[in-house]
């Protein structure tokens, strides 16, 4: 199952690369996954919530890297 998260990472990177999406896109999607996972958790559906939270986490990691990149580019 570990490979699935690497696959999600790869797909996510491909999407933002090809569609030229900014950090806001990744963060917005990640925030969406976070809200969904949070709701499922408080509804005691932990087994469903955890994978979604992991996807959200991947989104945040990518979003933060994009934000750093955007900051560097803007400050040049």
């Amino acid at each position: 199952m570990e490979i699935i998260y690497w696959a999600i990472l790869a797909v996510w990177i491909i999407v933002i690369w090809t569609l030229k999406k900014k950090a806001s896109f990744s963060m917005k999607v990640a925030l969406g996954f976070f809200v969904l996972a949070a709701v499922l958790t408080v509804l005691t559906l932990r087994n469903l919530a955890e994978p979604l939270m992991r996807v959200s986490f991947i989104g945040w990691l990518i979003g933060i890297l994009q934000a750093v990149w955007e900051y560097i580019r803007n400050s040049e």
């Binding site: 199952m1 963060m27 917005k28 925030l31 976070f34 992991r54 986490f57």
Partner: protein, 975 residues
């Protein structure tokens, strides 16, 4: 900085008031707080200071202080104040108040530095969030470890000072940082916190260099970090230098190799990652174990719908501000640390846990993060508080009218939901008695008779130890008015060194693990006590024997009364629930000379002293024998077991045949003895059934059983390998009920059968065939008299068996078999009950409980005793690390023994400066030196790291003074 502080006076007063309210609530009953590994230092700060002030302490059988010396200034200051007559609980309250204020002021500074335009009320929110978030609730305050608390309090202030220096390009900030770290030096008693702080500062430093990307700033930053690091090392020289020496010492290497391995660390990491590393918990800052069963009852409330939603709301606010202010440098800085913290906290869990695991197994320094959630949680809490405050402020940006409402809602939620366990004092409760009683919690009130007993012991001198009985492992529970549970605190309760618990310290644990058993079984126990320099035995009947599965103190006292009749021990004092018994043959053995050793192969045991007569005075392992060949000796060989018993889930395996091998070095006669043959009076015939075969010849018993030992006479062993086989018998069935029974039971009707002739240290096994003719599954346990009972219910502990209904309606019987170790209990029952309320009928056949006789073969040879007089020895103990020894009339080589735990850093130096190099393990735990000089002379025993500690103290003091002078001079010049 001055303006920064002056302008916020009212804010700081508010923080001080809030912290004051908290500690007033916690300490309102006038009791100290204590639990877990933190024990109760505030009961006797002077005693605890001794533990940290020297490189060697007299705690346990003696031990190195290692990194704990970093806490010495804190304990010194507190103990000095206590000497003025201020009670411990006031000092503890003041300490907690100071820590909360430090955390608050630091968080204020950090938040203001990173978000200068943030309104005061939001900064207050950051402070409250940092104080009360679930990470600080569980990992800091409920965990109740002082170095955790100090690190938590210090982090914001230290990070603030470091960033402030970078931003203002001020070298003086590096000096102030160093002085501040001295105030919080207690935090550095943990390797992990040293690592985490410098990791955080290194990242901050690198981030600022990359963010500014200006040559001028980079040069400044390099000089700044070098100055900060150098000044830190100088200010903390007193513990940094000895620590480097400590980690390189032989004892440390042995300790590390015994208890810390990469495989073990990886196992811990994976277990804890699975338990605590779920992102849905981490993102709520929740310790899953604590909030889902392991914590006190109130903690479960955080798992319910509304609090769960609120906690996600807090994280959502943080994520929202990250999204909104992602182009802001300070947000990026905090966000990177926040997500790095989350990544580490989940350990080897997905996603990308294998990357962390890869580095974890290859970089040993990372293995200090084997409990990543607990450790990295400090960093996560630190950076999330300013982000949270900024997030709430950002939410207010959307509706100016609702600003106050939004703030008020968040303020109340933080205060009411997160703050509730703090304001109610529930944060200081746990699931274990007596901490689970909300009226007690972590409060501890030590009965006054401890003070009386301590004073009495101090009056008896300072050159002995005592043993507390019953003796258990590290954990102890006291049944006082405000009771205590945690690490056994006798080291604090008494100023006299004592052996009151067993723990995994090399040499120490080998001595202590079998000590109580030796006391119970061996009438000559005073010989063992003498080797440990034990003058008194202390019995305590205010402990909870069921919580800790200990022997009943009344049984021990009864045994001591018997020993009193024999003359080996004498009751000398009683202080309510504490009784003291004097070892009548005690003589001061702090430092003594010996020349009649008992040698043991492969490794000596403290019980070996029982094999020689009273003339034999020291135990050595045979590797030191070549050094000492002119003395009278007893040689003991422990044959090596060929096939180890395998223990699965604590259930002993009961092989009836054991094979041992022995390598004889030279042709010699040895007496073969079987030890540990515990038989009741009516079981004497069983001894004849123990079959012993030596090199294919059956050995015959010679003489009667004495003190659980059987002699098989002398055997000549030629050089080479030899084999001993022992076929072990079992006792008769120890149940007084028919072997075939029909029992009717249900959940509330437990059927139990007493086990006769019970041995509290024995190994047992039970076997029976069964059919459940009607009803449900049933459970079988071996119920011991000291089994844990909570809320009037028996707590099931391993091993227990849940026997299924496979046999229901079956015509054939199912066979059940299990093994048990007795747990120091006074009696036991075989107990059966059905697992449901419905009536259950079980047919049992061939029910029997048997004890395994577990003899241990020993080979002993004795030389004739030579009459060689010992030199006369006198000594002066200057401090725990230094002794001056005066030796008179030494005419032959002798062994000098220092009855402190063996450590290769102990040095013996003759008065002419010659170091004695023949330093070895004596008496299985102590230091021995072979002294070959004759005549009258002096020598010094010294624990070498103390010299380094002293030098380090001077360096630290001078550096600190220089730093302070520099700041004062700068300030005066500026004026």
């Amino acid at each position: 900085m001055k303006l920064f502080i002056a302008g916020q006076r009212s804010f700081f007063i508010l923080i001080a008031l809030l912290a004051g309210i908290l500690v007033s609530i916690w300490f309102r009953e006038g009791n100290i707080l204590g639990t877990a590994e933190a024990i109760i230092p505030f009961h006797n700060l002077e005693r605890y200071k001794d533990k940290t002030a020297w490189a060697w302490t007299d705690f346990q059988l003696g031990s190195t202080s290692s990194l704990t010396v970093a806490s010495a200034p804190s304990w010194w200051l507190l103990s000095e104040i206590q000497k003025l007559g201020i009670p411990g609980y006031i000092l503890q309250a003041f300490t907690f108040w100071f820590l909360f204020i430090s955390a608050g002021v630091g968080m204020y500074g950090l938040t203001k530095l990173l978000f200068p335009n943030l309104a005061q009320k939001y900064v207050l929110l950051a402070v409250l969030f940092y104080w009360f978030n679930p990470l600080s609730m569980v990992n800091v305050w409920n965990r109740f470890l002082y170095n955790y608390m100090v690190f938590w309090a210090a982090l914001p202030i230290l990070l603030f000072l470091f960033i402030w220096g970078l931003q203002k390009r001020s070298f003086i900030a590096g000096i102030i940082f160093g002085i501040a770290t001295y105030i919080f030096s207690y935090a550095f008693t943990s390797y992990v916190f040293n690592f985490l702080m410098w990791l955080l500062l290194a990242f901050t430093w690198l981030f600022f260099i990359l963010a500014f990307r200006k040559k001028e700033f980079t040069f400044f930053a390099i000089k700044y970090i070098l100055l900060t690091l150098s000044f830190f090392i100088l200010v903390h020289a007193w513990w940094i230098i000895p620590t480097f020496q400590f980690v390189q010492s032989e004892n440390t290497a042995k300790e590390l190799s015994l208890f810390i391995t990469t495989e073990g660390n990886l196992y811990t990491l994976n277990i804890l990652s699975r338990k605590l590393g779920n992102l849905i918990d981490i993102l709520r800052f929740m310790h899953r174990g604590f909030y889902q069963g392991e914590g006190p009852a109130w903690s479960a409330a955080f798992n319910t719908f509304l609090p769960g939603l609120i906690l996600f709301g807090f994280t959502g606010t943080i994520l929202w501000v990250i999204y909104q202010l992602r182009s802001k440098l300070s947000v990026l800085y905090l966000t990177i640390i926040f997500f790095f913290g989350l990544y580490i906290a989940k350990g080897s869990n997905q996603p990308f846990g294998e990357v962390f695991q890869y580095f974890f197994t290859r970089l040993s320094v990372l293995q200090i993060l084997r409990d990543p959630f607990e450790k990295i949680g400090f960093i996560t809490a630190l950076v999330s508080a300013p982000l949270f405050a900024a997030g709430v402020s950002q939410l207010g940006e959307y509706s100016k009218k609702a600003v106050l409402i939004i703030f008020s809602v968040f303020f109340l939620l933080v205060l009411a939901v997160l703050g509730f366990p703090f304001f109610s004092g529930l944060v200081f409760t746990s699931v274990t008695p007596p901490n689970n009683n909300y009226k007690v919690g972590f409060q501890v009130k030590v009965p006054s008779y401890y003070k009386e007993a301590d004073t009495w012991l101090q009056r008896q001198g300072k050159n002995f130890r005592f043993i507390s009985l019953p003796l258990g492992d590290e954990g102890m529970t006291y049944k006082w008015e405000k009771g205590y549970q945690g690490i056994e605190p006798s080291e604090i309760l008494f100023s006299t060194p004592n052996i009151s618990f067993n723990t995994t310290i090399p040499y120490y644990s080998q001595v202590v693990e079998g000590l109580e058993k030796l006391f119970v079984r061996e009438p000559d126990f005073s010989k063992v006590a003498n080797l440990l320099n034990v003058k008194f035995l202390l019995t305590r009947s205010d402990i909870d024997i069921r919580e800790r599965r200990l022997r009943d103190p009344q049984v021990i006292e009864k045994l001591l009364a018997e020993r009193e009749e024999e003359g080996s021990f004498k009751k000398v004092a009683q202080f309510e629930k504490l009784k003291l018994w004097e070892n009548t043959s005690w003589a001061d053995r702090t430092v003594y000379a010996a020349n009649k050793p008992i040698f043991t192969f492969p490794q000596s045991k403290i019980s070996d002293v029982l094999w020689g007569n009273e003339h034999y005075d020291v135990l050595l392992s045979t590797d030191t024998r070549k050094e000492i060949d002119s003395m009278s000796v007893v040689t003991i060989l422990y044959p090596e077991e060929e096939k180890k018993e395998t223990l699965i889930d604590e259930i002993p395996s009961f092989e009836h045949k054991k094979e041992y091998k022995i390598n004889a070095e030279k042709d010699a006669d040895y007496e073969l003895i079987l030890d540990n043959v515990i038989l009741e009076a009516n079981e004497a015939s069983i001894a004849a059934n123990i079959k012993v075969i030596v090199d294919d010849k059956i050995a015959l018993q010679k003489g009667q059983i004495q003190n659980n030992k059987i002699s098989y006479g002398l055997f000549n062993f030629s050089p080479g390998q030899h084999k001993i086989i022992i076929e072990r018998p079992v006792t008769e069935n120890l149940l007084s009920v028919p072997r075939d029974l029909i029992i009717s039971t249900n959940q509330d009707k437990k059927i139990s059968y007493e086990i006769n002739n019970f041995d509290p240290y024995g190994k047992y096994f039970i076997q029976f065939n069964y059919i459940i003719s009607s009803g449900s599954d049933f459970t079988f346990i071996f119920n011991q008299s000291n089994d844990m009972v909570r809320n009037n219910n028996l707590v099931l502990q391993a091993p227990n068996f849940n026997l299924l209904t496979k046999g229901k309606n079956s015509t054939s019987f199912i066979f059940a078999k299990g093994g048990f170790n007795a747990q120091r209990s006074e009696g036991a029952n075989a107990m059966f009950w059905a697992n449901s309320v419905m009536p259950t009928e079980i047919i049992l056949k061939n029910l029997s409980v048997n004890r395994l006789i577990d003899p241990l073969p020993i080979l002993i040879s004795q030389n004739s005793l030579l009459d060689s007089p010992l030199p006369k020895i006198t000594y002066i103990k200057h401090n725990p690390t230094k002794y001056s020894i005066q030796i008179k009339a030494a005419d032959k080589p002798f062994i000098l023994v220092l009855s402190e735990l063996f450590n290769s850093s102990w040095e013996a130096t003759l008065d002419d400066g010659t170091r004695i190099n023949k330093h070895f393990l004596a008496n299985t735990y102590a230091n021995g030196w072979l002294v070959e000089r004759s005549g009258d002379f002096n020598l010094t025993l010294e624990f070498a790291p103390q010299r380094v500690l002293e030098a380090g103290k001077i360096v630290s003091f001078l550096s600190l003074a220089a730093g302070l002078v520099y700041i004062i001079v700068r300030k005066l010049l500026w004026r």
